[in-house]
Subunit: 246 residues, 2 copies
């Protein structure tokens, strides 16, 4: 079978009540997001919100020195472009595609319109935003106190949760860029994890063999982010539609 795309692959869209979803559905546009694509730059007026299905987008800040750091990631659990309904219309950070895939995009005006109807869409967007806030706060604490290896484990787990496969297509160089550390630091940490048999990698590919191993090595931050996300969004019933198998 091919790859039947559906908005329901995005958890937020899948959770919208039928009436609200119907209003948006016609305007959802499936777009491919190639690795490295810049979705928005600092200060740029956002035009669209993106609901990733298979793609993963990294929100990160680039410093004057050129150094950068990811502050949060967005996959099929969320939406890129919260500034649209929060009222700022832009942010000082940028959004870059970290894992190639697809997303449904929606004109900012329409999302804002639906948000202002104060229905479940609004509630969902606000709750997701709070989860994002937690992710950023946790990243801040994690950057302060945890080792590169712990952070790598956290990052791998969070990324893994957003893709259907157990293999990530990304180079160590790019991972280093995400975490804001040296490439060699990733090489060393990944080497340790491979020696333990938790992962196996080759040029541009990282396969996770033992999730449990990574979870044991990761810092608490992974669990905190994960738990908070499900706490905030899980009690909202998913609109049940024929499950789309990918």
């Amino acid at each position: 079978m091919g790859s039947p795309h559906s908005p329901n692959q995005n958890h937020l869209l899948a959770a919208l009540p039928t009436a609200e979803f119907e209003r948006l559905a016609a305007h959802l546009e499936l777009v491919p997001l190639p690795l490295g694509e810049l979705i928005y730059e600092p200060g740029e007026q956002l035009q669209y919100a993106y609901f990733p299905t298979t793609a993963i987008v990294s929100l990160h800040y680039v410093m004057e020195s050129g150094a950068s750091a990811e502050t949060a990631g967005v996959g099929n659990e969320g939406v890129v472009g919260i500034a649209l309904f929060m009222g700022g219309d832009t942010t000082p950070s940028s959004a870059v595609v970290q894992t190639a895939g697809h997303a449904y995009r929606l004109a900012g005006r329409l999302l804002k319109q639906e948000f202002n109807r104060a229905g479940l869409t609004q509630q969902l967007m606000l709750r997701y935003t709070q989860a994002l806030l937690t992710q950023m706060a946790q990243t801040a604490a994690c950057n302060r106190h945890h080792t590169v290896e712990q952070q790598l484990c956290r990052w791998l787990l969070l990324t893994l949760d957003r893709v259907s496969s157990r293999e990530l297509i990304i180079t160590q160089e790019l991972v280093a860029g995400m975490l804001g550390v040296r490439r060699e630091g990733i090489t060393e940490a990944a080497g340790n994890l491979q020696r333990e048999g938790y992962i196996r990698y080759r040029r541009g590919h990282i396969a996770v063999l033992q999730r449990a191993g990574l979870e044991a090595r990761a810092c608490e931050c992974y669990a905190v982010v994960k738990t908070e996300l499900s706490r905030l969004l899980s009690d909202i019933p998913q609109r049940q539609v024929a499950a789309v198998v990918n």
Copy 2:
């Protein structure tokens, strides 16, 4: 003269249109916030939102190891307890009074009610939340890349902007706790700044003599947070009223 408290000392409350302010005013309760008071703990169901006037509250996360780090600070520019209207009702972080002073507190139910009227209160709260998000994202990047001295300068400036005096009442030990670094690191950095003549300190007091010096030594993060806050909130007209003496 004494110290005439007024809700208008808090920028958010001061920006509410008359009608909306009037609905809340009767329920605003002035409370003293002593240094170190725990406003809420991780996972605790919030009861009140706090609008600081002279107090400063630190949002921070305490790790399993006992180490901790501030993820954002809230002073007279903001509100403590955004989880109330974001829908989560609680957060994994805690809120502690970093500078003693006062705040107006408001029952969570009432804030949420007013928020749901979808007037300017909602818009203000959302915009402030976005500013808070930026602050957390910036803290994450800052923790990754900048030195203790740079971060101390950023922290001093942000704190200074929230108080009326140029002197902060806080020990180096507590500052270290905020930034999540060793106390000795602060001693050393503060020593440098004092030698340059930018600040002068004695047990539990830090006086800023040359703001410009601190600004030159601080990382860009201070300016980013500051600029974003004013971008998001400055274009909202402040309600001009006769100062209310309480």
